[in-house]
């Protein structure tokens, strides 16, 4: 696992997300237009754990499922924009999270685990891209993703109302 395809420098040149919401650490495999595998190490130093006190039971240290989804989606975003990255959400075509179906969580993920997000590009229809895949840790599937929909829209679509 020592080799990787791209690390933080290149990931930051592809995704607009930053601390504490940049949830992809490295990309270890990619077939452009087809599939990508990315790693994300879960740490108790992430801000979501800051408020948990000494009485917190072990199970409450589970990584937030919503962020597990976000981390997987960011990996999908790296694949979707592999040939034409745009890390600027204020300009050009930006990638929007359109929706998801059939996302199942199989067991909690705890600090110290390294998630391996496996993303497959299912279909691209006009400005919409559909993905499927799973996340694994320690040889186990922790989440399956039936379908994630990403849509590319002009940056103006995100502007707040005047």
């Amino acid at each position: 696992m020592s080799g990787f395809v791209i690390g933080q420098r290149d990931i930051r040149a592809r995704l607009p997300h930053r601390f504490p919401m940049l949830l992809v650490d490295r990309v270890v495999d990619v077939v452009p237009g087809e599939r990508l595998t990315a790693l994300k190490a879960v740490s108790c130093n992430e801000p979501w754990y800051e408020k948990l006190g000494p009485e917190t039971p072990d199970e409450d240290f589970g990584y937030p499922k919503s962020l597990l989804v976000e981390s997987w989606c960011q990996s999908a975003g790296v694949l979707a924009t592999w040939d034409d990255p745009n890390p600027d959400v204020l300009d050009g075509q930006v990638m929007l999270f359109g929706g998801m179906t059939g996302v199942e969580f199989h067991r909690p993920v705890l600090p110290g685990e390294v998630l391996e997000h496996r993303v497959r590009l299912d279909r691209r229809v006009d400005d919409t891209v559909l993905f499927e895949g799973e996340s694994r840790s320690a040889g186990e599937t922790v989440m399956t993703v039936g379908r994630i929909v990403m849509a590319f829209r002009p940056a103006e679509a995100l502007r707040p109302p005047p």
Binding site: P16, H17, Y49, L52, F61, G62, F97, L158
Partner: protein, 134 residues
């Protein structure tokens, strides 16, 4: 109830109901929300997954008597239909139903003053499922 790790700094507020179980909740998106500096720098937008988290926490806060101890098993579906910005208040309407074998479904509709923001369908599993007992 939802005392675990969460990307939300603020708290979901369940609105009291005059007749029957609560079905309405509210989340105020403060400018100090933890995620905003990184989503995105200089252009804060409340992430879609945080709307799912709002639905999740609202569901846990309104869980029906028969579903106590329920745990999120799946996001059955979600559609994001409008961006949410710091300063917005998200109104959340919830509907629970038992789907058998210890499973429960919670549908949530999230809106802001500009209209629909997301619709979310979550599946929960209670501790006492046949699979868990096997």
């Amino acid at each position: 109830m939802s005392g675990g790790a969460s990307p939300l700094a603020g708290h979901v507020e369940v609105l009291p109901s005059d007749d029957g179980p609560a079905t309405e909740a509210r989340f105020a998106v403060g400018t100090a929300e933890t995620v905003l500096p990184g989503h995105y720098p200089g252009f804060p937008i409340f992430p879609g997954v945080c709307l799912v988290e709002c639905a999740h926490q609202s569901a846990l806060a309104t869980v029906p008597d028969g579903a106590k101890g329920a745990e999120l098993e799946a996001v059955e579906s979600t559609r994001f239909t409008g961006p949410v910005f710091p300063g917005d208040t998200v109104d959340i309407s919830l509907g629970w139903k038992a789907t058998g074998d210890g499973h429960w479904q919670c549908r949530a509709k999230l809106t802001t003053e500009r209209g629909n923001a997301a619709s979310v369908r979550l599946r929960f599993r209670t501790q006492e499922t046949p699979e868990a007992a096997a």
